[in-house]
């Protein structure tokens, strides 16, 4: 790497926030995926939009490839950039809350902030963000918007994004200061021009480096009621889901989670429940009366469809319920729970709700065939976990994961990596997409793009990043060999 470049980089972010030694760099060769992190020549931890702007201008002048990393929580890997030549920007030093605006009900934070830290700040001010599927303790706000916002629940709550373009230009989107020079408050996403905020959501970080984000806040629901029932047939579950979303929006106050037979087996003390679906509805509200009424309405429909109660599930629902001024200590399905199940073959899906009955059994069948193959190779599947949730009225997001007994074996890791990749190829053939625009997934998604969509992306990318320095390897480039 050019010595002048390094000297200038150190001058911008500070000497101690730049590393080039092989050990420190190697630590970034891995993220939460089996597909690997980034092989970087230098890593920097910038502290502000201004620093990022100056760093990008420097990289643009020197044509140095740049890869941006948030919490490193991707399950599909990171953009490869140009292995061995990349400047990796670790954004997690940019973790400040810049403005909590309780009257305007917005929060502006730096994009490197980890979601749980942002959520905690919002909760402390009486608000919350609805991020049901986010691994909140590991994913950064910027990473979530770049890689997973399509299915993550908060995409519509994003009002404004400050991003640094590959040449160092700082842009701000959204109705407010970005589109109106006499406005100081970000208040609406779509006023005053095209929805360029949306352009930066799900872009995999390929259009610009997100540095600041303004998010619309929801009042913290003080009351939670849970209702948990079991069903013997998927059809009944889907009927319930359809009637639920026709009545209320599952986002953000009435989420519905469905757990499949494998998950039930894990939850039960004696391993039973392998032929059941469990439906968990959360009603979040501001008064007990209002919330109780919503729970009663849901349970009436569920009863009509044959949902069953058990004492254990009723007790669990009781534990999850929260009255005003009571804090429920229960944190369900933290990442630690999944990490303890074994080496994960994450097998997520996102599809039109109307296709669930047809497609879901095919996904489970595909998984079972691959688990049988694993068994023939001596790899033990020790857990299955299925869940699905309507992410809005139209679509369903979920997973049919398998967890393998972990052994220090590169063969097992290669098998699981292939399983994830093949599963995604299979789901793409079925017309599905995953919510994640990260690493290898972005290239699979791009392979299904229509000509027009491809042309649109290429035109925008070429205009913004003519030297193709930012997050190279996403979307249209040929995939590299996977993993560390």
């Amino acid at each position: 790497m050019d010595a002048d470049f390094l000297t200038d980089l150190r001058a911008i972010v500070g000497d101690s926030y730049v590393v080039t030694d092989p050990v420190a760099r190697f630590a970034y060769r891995q993220d939460a995926s089996l597909f690997g992190g980034t092989d970087a020549a230098v890593i920097a931890r910038p502290a502000s939009t201004d620093e990022v702007s100056r760093v990008m201008a420097l990289a643009f002048r020197h044509a140095v490839p740049v890869v941006v990393r948030g919490g490193g929580s991707s399950i599909y890997g990171q953009p490869p950039g140009v292995p061995g030549e990349n400047l990796l920007l670790d954004m997690t030093r940019m973790n400040r809350i810049l403005n909590m605006n309780p009257q305007g009900m917005t929060v502006t934070a730096e994009a490197g902030i980890i979601m749980s830290r942002l959520q905690h700040a919002c909760n402390s001010a009486g608000f919350y963000l609805f991020v049901p599927a986010a691994p909140v303790h590991t994913v950064s706000l910027g990473g979530w918007l770049s890689g997973a916002a399509g299915g993550g629940g908060i995409w519509w709550e994003i009002i404004s994004i400050t991003a640094v373009l590959p040449d160092g230009t700082v842009v701000r989107t959204g109705g407010g200061p970005g589109t109106h020079v006499r406005q100081t408050e970000a208040y609406s996403r779509i006023m005053g021009g095209p929805d360029f905020t949306g352009m930066f959501i799900g872009d995999g970080g390929s259009f610009g480096v997100k540095t600041e984000v303004t998010v619309r806040l929801l009042g913290l629901p003080a009351v939670t009621r849970a209702s948990i029932l079991v069903f013997r047939s998927l059809d009944r579950v889907l009927d319930l889901m359809a009637r639920h979303v026709a009545r209320v929006s599952p986002h953000p106050f009435d989420p519905l989670l469905v757990f499949g037979p494998g998950a039930n087996e894990l939850f039960s003390a004696d391993g039973s429940g392998a032929d059941l679906f469990t439906v968990m509805a959360l009603m979040q509200g501001h008064t007990p009366a209002e919330t109780d009424a919503r729970r009663d309405a849901f349970e009436a429909i569920a009863d009509e469809l044959g949902g069953g109660h058990t004492p254990e599930l009723d007790a669990l629902a009781g534990m999850m319920s929260r009255a005003p001024d009571q804090e429920s200590e229960m944190e369900m399905f933290g990442l630690g729970f999944f990490n303890g199940l074994g080496l994960a073959a994450w097998l997520p899906f996102n599809m039109p709700r109307t296709r669930m009955a047809e497609v879901y059994p095919l996904l489970v069948q595909w998984r079972e065939e691959r688990i049988a193959e694993a068994g023939r190779r001596g790899f033990e599947c020790q857990a299955r976990f299925e869940f699905m949730a309507p992410s809005d009225q139209c679509s369903v997001t979920g997973e049919v994961d398998a967890f393998f007994k972990d052994v220090p074996s590169l063969e097992l890791r290669a098998f699981v990596r292939e399983m994830i990749l093949d599963y995604q190829k299979f789901t793409h053939e079925l017309g599905l997409l995953d919510v994640y625009n990260q690493g290898m997934m972005s290239r699979l998604n791009a392979a299904c793009w229509s000509d027009g969509y491809r042309a649109l992306y290429s035109t925008v990318k070429q205009a913004i990043d003519p030297k193709r320095i930012l997050n190279r390897g996403l979307w249209l480039e040929r995939p590299p060999e996977p993993g560390v």
Partner: protein, 405 residues
Amino acid sequence: MTDPLQSLRRCADTIYSCRSCGMCGNKMTAKVPYVCPLREATPGFDHFYARGKIVIARGLLEGALEMTSDLAEAAYGCMLCGNCMTQCGATDRATAEPLVDTVRIVEALRADLLRVHPEWVAEGYRSLLAATRQYDNPWGAPRSLREKWCKGLDLPRAPQAGCDVLLFAGCTIASTPALHERARKAVQVLRAAGINPAIMGRDEPCCASVQRRIGAADMAGDMVRANVEQLNAAGCSEIVALCAGCANMLAGDYRTAGLKARVCHIVPFLAALLEQGRLVPRNAYPHAVCYHDPCHLGRHMGIYDQPRAVLRALPGLSLVERTATRQNTLCCGAGGGMRVFESGTLSLDIAREGLASARKAGAEVMVSACPFCEINLDAAAQVLAEPMQVLDIIDLVHASVEVRG
């Protein structure tokens, strides 16, 4: 030819249990302001916290990364406090034990580095080992000074008939004149409860905790094997350790190696004496006190309630808790040999944060139960704009109960 990665290879199971999710560096809840104090006190690159270290360990095992001198920063930049293991949450479903044992992994990383390339390890660590070879004491105090703390107390020397309790002072207390009074107070408190403990005096061995933590696994193993024989020969049924590091080592490695005596740290021992009514606190201590859970005693031995029970038993004392307390406590900054790393500046930075959080909780006094914590917290407290008193639980118990000289 000896495998240069033999220690790491023995940890392969736990290394490969890590999913690299990053929770160990990023988790935040109302009770966990952050996970890794070192990440907060440094420029915060991934190799400063557990995920990066484990990725590096895997890289070494798989031949994707070679040992270089830069490895020392990743290996020794860790307090071995274990908070990352607690917050990770990945546990064995059958045993509920943590699946990712970062402490074991980092100790193994250090062991391989120290064995293969000792020249890359900071001189300060190697000095501790040289002192151990010469004096059986990492702090370099000769044996003749080991019993200086108990001069005039007329304590029986083990083995001696009728002495069931062996008081194990440990190298740090025995070698630090400022801590001698603490040990003398412990004896006086025990005597007030009718217990006249035995000591090993100049024959008391080093427990090998420091050596194990800084990577001298072979040396520590040899010391443990020899010491178990010596301790078993001492004939006491219970060893009461004044130092949290010694207590953790004696209750762990020594037990595995065949130590027969029960092991108890002085604080739970005092808690039992208070509960039995053998100690009666009388003098009031009208101050707001924050208890700092030493990592050795808390996360590593699971002792959280007894220190608090002792403090609550003292008249007038009000116990305040920081946001991060008990199993979420943030290390004082002195664990894992950190006072040697970068000349101890990071240790002091971390200790200052700990004191600031105690003050924020309303504490006037910080109390702990480990000499390492106290030395580090006290050093940090001296340079605060508004100094804070740092004491040991023994100091408070001693001041409250009636003791004879």
